[in-house]
């Protein structure tokens, strides 16, 4: 008994040392944009969309697992591998689109910060520059280890959504029933929302970021199973948080027929219905998610671009050693924060461009991944099995279909 306890303790310790990349990547998924989508989904359709989180979890695990596996087996980032296997031309254009897509995502994160500033009654002209500076400072002055720890702490703060879910006291029986019974309404608004919910889940930057951070962490092949567990835990945690956001909004806003368009609206509408605590938790969750994602997105962009172009890379280097890395990182943060503070900036077109560039890039990234992960020269005996490939192709086809659909609907709107 004692020996077994010791063995499981040792296993837990290994997991704790390996965990991070999967959980962090998945959590960034619940960024300002994600929270907005889930709030609106809950407010407009109640519990009717909760079932869709089950296929989302599966898709997220399958795709991120491949990233993680490639990282451990090859020891290289995704951008590295794309450059080495598909050449500079493909890499260059992919990176241009990635920069655009991540830049617009970052802008929407700063929009989230601005929105939560207003919720807390702070001027956004104070909070946004402050957050931008803090985010910049963290990466430029931090080391990989310290940065990862802070990120993991940020992941814990997502609990605020789960708490706000409990505070609003929903009907658990009904939630269980509706998550088990997929409702498929042939209603245009419903389908759009469904596409939106699934579409925000898998973004191109995630594969780049996760693979790079697993590489940076130096996880060994023998510990790979723990890395896989990290991905699985991340996928579950992020979707549970998303489900709670839907629950809060469904139970309060949907039940009272209140329609919202943004996460800020949702938080404000919650105040009279669910009380002050729920409001503050919701608003705090938005701030945390926005700041956290505003850290990761520029970082991920800088990593990927420098890897692909062959420039010095890494959190552990100084500004002088890796000028392109820090330059790109700084530029994205500065542009992101400055644009939001400009008076009269419209958020909707920014969101549209971010969705469009995501949708444009995602099919390519997923296809590259599939080709790379099946390359025997790179992966040896760790290529996908036939069954895994079939599942992946179905998921990829589904994701591509959805992101194209999202692209179209975004512009039709």
């Amino acid at each position: 008994m004692n020996a077994r306890l010791k063995a499981s303790w040792a296993k837990l310790l290994i997991f704790l040392s390996v965990m991070g990349p999967g959980i962090i990547t998945a959590n960034v998924d619940n960024d300002a944009g994600g929270i907005t989508t889930y709030s609106v989904a809950g407010a407009h359709f109640g519990y009717a969309l909760i079932w869709s989180f089950i296929p989302i979890i599966i898709a997220l695990i399958i795709i991120q697992e491949m990233s993680s596996r490639m990282a451990v087996v090859t020891g290289k980032g995704l951008a590295d591998l794309i450059r080495e296997e598909f050449g500079v031309r493909v890499t260059f254009y992919a990176m241009v689109v990635l920069i655009l897509s991540n830049l617009f995502n970052t802008i929407s994160e700063f929009a989230g910060i601005a929105a939560s500033a207003e919720l807390f009654g702070i001027s956004k002209y104070i909070l946004v520059p402050l957050c931008a500076l803090a985010v910049w400072w963290l990466i430029v002055k931090g080391t990989y280890k310290s940065v990862e720890k802070i990120f993991l702490v940020a992941c814990v703060f997502y609990v605020s959504y789960i708490l706000s879910g409990f505070i609003s006291k929903p009907d658990w029986g009904e939630i269980a029933r509706s998550s088990m019974h997929p409702v498929f309404k042939m209603d245009k608004a419903y389908l759009l929302m469904l596409i939106g919910v699934i579409g925000t889940t898998i973004a191109p930057w995630m594969q780049f970021y996760q693979q790079s951070s697993v590489v940076e962490k130096g996880i060994k092949l023998k510990d790979y199973k723990y890395s896989r567990l990290d991905v699985i835990v991340g996928a579950f945690v992020v979707n549970i948080v998303a489900i709670f956001i839907v629950i809060v909004c469904a139970h309060t806003l949907f039940a009272n027929g209140i329609r919202v368009e943004t996460a800020k609206d949702a938080a404000l509408a919650l105040k009279p219905l669910a009380g002050h605590y729920c409001f503050y938790l919701f608003a705090f969750g938005l701030l945390n998610a926005s700041v956290f994602s505003a850290c990761i997105l520029p970082l991920s962009t800088a990593y990927s671009v420098c890897e692909g172009m062959g420039w010095e890379v890494g959190v552990n280097r100084s500004f002088r050693e890796a000028p392109q890395f820090y330059g790109l990182y700084t530029a994205i943060i500065v542009i992101g924060a400055a644009l939001i503070l400009l008076p009269g900036v419209k958020l909707v077109p920014i969101m549209l461009i971010s969705q469009a560039t995501n949708g444009l890039l995602l099919p390519f990234v997923l296809i590259f991944m599939l080709l790379l992960v099946n390359n025997k020269r790179l992966m040896g005996s760790y290529t996908n099995s036939r069954f895994y490939n079939i599942v992946t192709i179905i998921i990829i086809a589904g994701m591509i279909g959805l992101s194209i659909a999202l692209l179209f609907t975004a512009f039709i709107h």
Binding site: T74, G75, R83, E84, G87, V88, G218, K220, G310
Partner: protein, 447 residues
């Protein structure tokens, strides 16, 4: 056909002219009747020389069912950035689906877009283009290009970008400065799939000229697989220089992949303070195991420094012992004892271990000689075996040795894995020194 003969056949003499690999790739290849054969895919070079010479041209055709063919350089009549003209007919070229040439260094697969070590600037760089030089009819790898302009050239925007840059500033560094690095400083990092090593093609002294800290930094920039393969390919002193300067995380990762034995070999060449720094961070069992694999004299010094010193079995023991697998026959065992040479003379005890090197028995020369040679070695074993742990005290060891009349006693770790032996002379010197100290105290006290 000799080189001169081919040279005579060449229409234009391009000697001394340069061409970029990117200008060559995907240009058309024509056979002797000027019929289309395929497109240039890759160039195989002979890595043996300082400036490797192109030896084979790989071409491909078809999409998506790509087919590849290999053409000897001697069969090329003319090659430039427009087309390649062969001296052989289309019918002589055999296409197949496989193009992975296992041993050779190929420019597209192994160099272009890949990371290499620049031993001149002490950096890991990614190659944007390769600068090739015509010498007679041959092509040689002269430089690699790591500039932004190299990327732009490959994207096909070189002329436009040049134009705009020259509009702004005619003497811009972008236009004037060529970011070319001579091939002699370049160490490729392509891993040979058969031996899992990286062929070191720059002279080893080039590495010895790089300050150890820089070398370690270069090393840490490689990916895990490259680190392992590169490390294996280096000479011992370079290995030692790198090992002392890399982070513990990388050290540990190397040790896990290479095994204790190779690390012990490297540690033999590392200053004792650096070696103890590393060993201190390992688990006790592992430290003792590695010490056991090292040169006896040096490991004794290290174990003293590590504080195992005289007060525990781990510090006293030596790794020079005779052990055999329990399934060996006595005949084989005796034969091996005769053939082996020992640095020091081990006492006549022979230990028997299982597959995991766990101690299962003990015998001596006398018993082995008297036993039936065809028997299993375990037949000659003593009925019972006593051993001490790594952390057993000198007193315990001395007491057990005296009790069972052992000349040597085996030392095992917590899992009963044999780590080393303690000989009677080692324990005697300890006991004598303890006795002397006591004696002195007794002498001092009355006065």
């Amino acid at each position: 056909m000799t080189d001169q003969q081919i040279a005579k056949k060449i229409g234009k003499d391009r000697s001394g002219m340069f061409i970029y690999l990117s200008q060559l790739l995907d240009t058309i290849v024509l056979d002797k009747n000027r019929e289309f054969v395929g497109r240039v895919y890759d160039v195989v070079v002979r890595p043996s020389e300082v400036y490797p010479q192109a030896s084979l041209l790989m071409i491909r055709k078809g999409f998506p069912d790509r087919q590849y063919a290999v053409i000897e350089w001697a069969n090329i009549f003319e090659i430039d950035d427009k087309e390649t003209w062969l001296t052989i007919g289309k019918d002589k070229i055999i296409f197949s689906q496989i193009h992975n040439n296992k041993e050779e260094l190929t420019l597209r697969r192994d160099i272009l877009d890949q990371q290499v070590v620049d031993t001149f600037n002490h950096k890991v760089i990614r190659i944007n283009d390769i600068h090739l030089l015509f010498v007679d009819h041959l092509l040689m790898v002269a430089h690699v290009d790591i500039s932004l302009r190299g990327i732009i050239r490959r994207l096909g925007y070189e002329k436009i970008t040049d134009f705009f840059v020259s509009l702004v500033n005619k003497n811009a560094a972008y236009l004037k400065k060529e970011h070319l690095i001579s091939w002699k400083y370049i160490q490729p990092l392509s891993i040979n799939p058969a031996s899992m090593t990286i062929k070191v093609n720059v002279p080893q002294q080039q590495f010895s000229r790089i300050p150890a800290a820089d070398l370690a930094e270069i090393f840490q920039d490689l990916d895990v697989r490259q680190q392992l393969s590169f490390f294996k390919s280096l000479d011992l002193s370079t290995k030692a220089r790198i090992f002392t300067h890399i982070d513990f995380k990388v050290q540990k990762s190397l040790m896990d992949d290479l095994g204790n034995k190779e690390i012990a070999e490297v540690l033999n060449h590392i200053p004792s303070d650096e070696a103890t720094d590393f060993l201190e961070k390992l688990s006790k069992d592992r430290t003792v195991h590695i010490l056991g694999l090292m040169e006896t004299k040096y490991s004794k010094k290290l174990s003293q420094l590590l504080g195992y010193s005289s007060d525990s079995a781990g510090g006293l023991m030596t790794a020079e012992y005779i052990a055999f697998k329990k399934d060996d026959t006595i005949e084989a065992v005796l034969q091996q004892i005769k053939e082996r040479t020992f640095k020091t003379e081990p006492a006549q005890f022979v230990y028997i271990v299982d597959e995991d090197h766990k101690l299962v028995g003990c015998t001596n020369f006398r018993r082995l000689i008297l036993a039936n040679p065809r028997d299993n070695v375990q037949k000659a074993a003593f009925p019972k075996i006593y051993s001490v742990r790594l952390d057993s005290s000198v007193k315990e060891v001395a007491y057990l040795m005296e009790k069972y009349k052992y000349y040597t006693i085996p030392v095992v770790d917590a899992n009963n894995v044999l780590q080393g032996i303690i000989t009677v002379d080692d324990i005697l010197s300890q006991v004598i020194s303890i006795a002397w100290r006591r004696l002195k105290r007794i002498e001092v006290k009355p006065s």
